[in-house]
Symmetry: C2
Subunit: 272 residues, 2 copies
């Protein structure tokens, strides 16, 4: 069966998750919906985001998605449980649980930092997800909103990206034997993987970076195998890209996050 | 009469216009509404923005506003005419016409640059407003979206703000006698006045900066005088701040744009 994997986000950021999914699952087809008409989700109430998530997921399911990935930290934090019940028995995965699990596995000391948007950090979903797995862990949440704008502008490397990363996370670099120092940094926003180089340069090689796009792709792989949902088709799968507003703008900005060139007409407009 | 002047924007950026209004009109009272539940306006269609503008302006008028200022470039570009008809005979002013008029008056050569968000620059409203007044003018529009994020993060000065300004507008600095060089730069986004120092440092002293917040405040002053709407009260006027979502967040971020400390409870929530 070649039913697509459905992926949604409020905008282009979730395309880093789609990029990771394609690397891990090259034979699968994907259907991506960016709810650009209603972005950002991060400033909206939990009930509004849950309602938007149901509507966007519905489009994916109506088009045959066999599994839904919430490639958005805000919606993963507030809408995953509701959506899983709503779409059952269809599997639904968010980005927070895989990221938290990977951080718990990767961190030797349990001193973990999470960077994300204001709303993700204030909401504390990563802290709770880490605490469930590793109650003794100490989690430092830090909002880094300018990273989103840098990523959308495409200034992903060079002196400005490096200076911003230095200002946000430079103090997390391990020096000497400070027992309080963090040893693991979670990229808790789907925009951030494109800035990985600048962030790595700021925190240094002794801090392990956990990319929730990567870890989510691995989790999707496991669920497909476990549920017998993996495609048996040969050759590369298709990608279908949808947006609820400004498909040309989406294609321009999205190419950077997906890591693929996109034609101006590559993204189709859908109404919700 | 001490009826308030109504001011609205999609968020906190328009508070720079409110700050300029307070400086020019210290005896007036003000009622400001940030439509934070539905920001940003810049990515939405013109008809949606016009509808939102009617709804936000209605709140201001229902609370007694004697004049409405659209302190938002996107809404000024697409909703001013509609709103002026809808609210007539109440005066309605946007930020684009005053900014364009000031640039036309200030520029010796008519070579003018306008910086703003992607949507403001793509929409071309400043270019058209300048062309109506000075058809021979040559206008260079340049989107500078990262300035918005810098302003919201409060990184308004220092090496990062200077590096971003240098990258966006450093090439506009006048060198020698280049006849094509611009001599006037319009801050075509209500977020940008807080970055004025970094922008001035990048373009140098020979480029005249036009701040549409300042020029809009002057235009409001003139309309009040002409229509006999200026207050005759003594002493400083009041400020009432409203937001459609996240009033605490609004108060935190807004203090910087307004140039006044704001208590966490200083902003009231309204439903639209």
């Amino acid at each position: 069966m070649r039913a697509p994997i459905g992926v949604f986000d409020s905008g282009v950021g979730g395309l880093t998750v789609l990029a990771a999914l394609r690397r891990h699952l090259p034979h699968e087809s994907f259907l991506y919906l960016g709810d650009t008409a209603r972005l950002p989700y991060g400033t909206k109430s939990a009930s509004t985001v849950a309602r938007y998530a149901r509507q966007t997921a519905r489009v994916l399911v109506d088009r045959g998605a066999k599994l839904v990935v919430i490639a958005c930290n805000t919606a993963s934090a507030v809408a995953l449980e509701d959506l899983a019940v709503h779409l059952a028995p269809l599997p639904v995965l968010g980005v927070i649980e895989p990221g938290a699990a990977a951080a718990c596995a990767a961190s030797p000391t349990g001193r973990i930092a999470v960077i994300g948007t204001d709303s993700t950090i204030r909401g504390g979903a990563y802290e709770r997800a880490i605490a469930r797995r590793r109650p003794e862990a100490r989690v430092l949440g830090r909002p880094c909103p300018l990273f989103v704008a840098l990523a959308e502008e495409g200034w992903c490397e060079g002196p400005i990206a490096e200076a911003v990363a230095q200002r946000y996370v430079g103090d997390l670099r391990r020096t000497g034997d400070d027992p309080e120092a963090i040893d693991c940094l979670v990229l808790g926003c789907t925009h951030f993987p494109v800035l990985r180089g600048a962030i790595e340069a700021a925190v240094g090689p002794e801090v392990i970076l956990v990319d929730s796009a990567e870890t989510t792709a691995k989790a999707v792989h496991q669920v497909l195998e476990r549920k017998g949902l993996a495609t048996d088709a040969e050759g590369p799968g298709d990608i279908t890209l949808l947006a609820t507003d400004g498909p040309e703008r989406f294609a321009r900005a999205g190419a950077r996050f997906l890591g693929l060139p996109l034609r101006p007409g590559a993204v189709s407009l859908v109404d919700l």
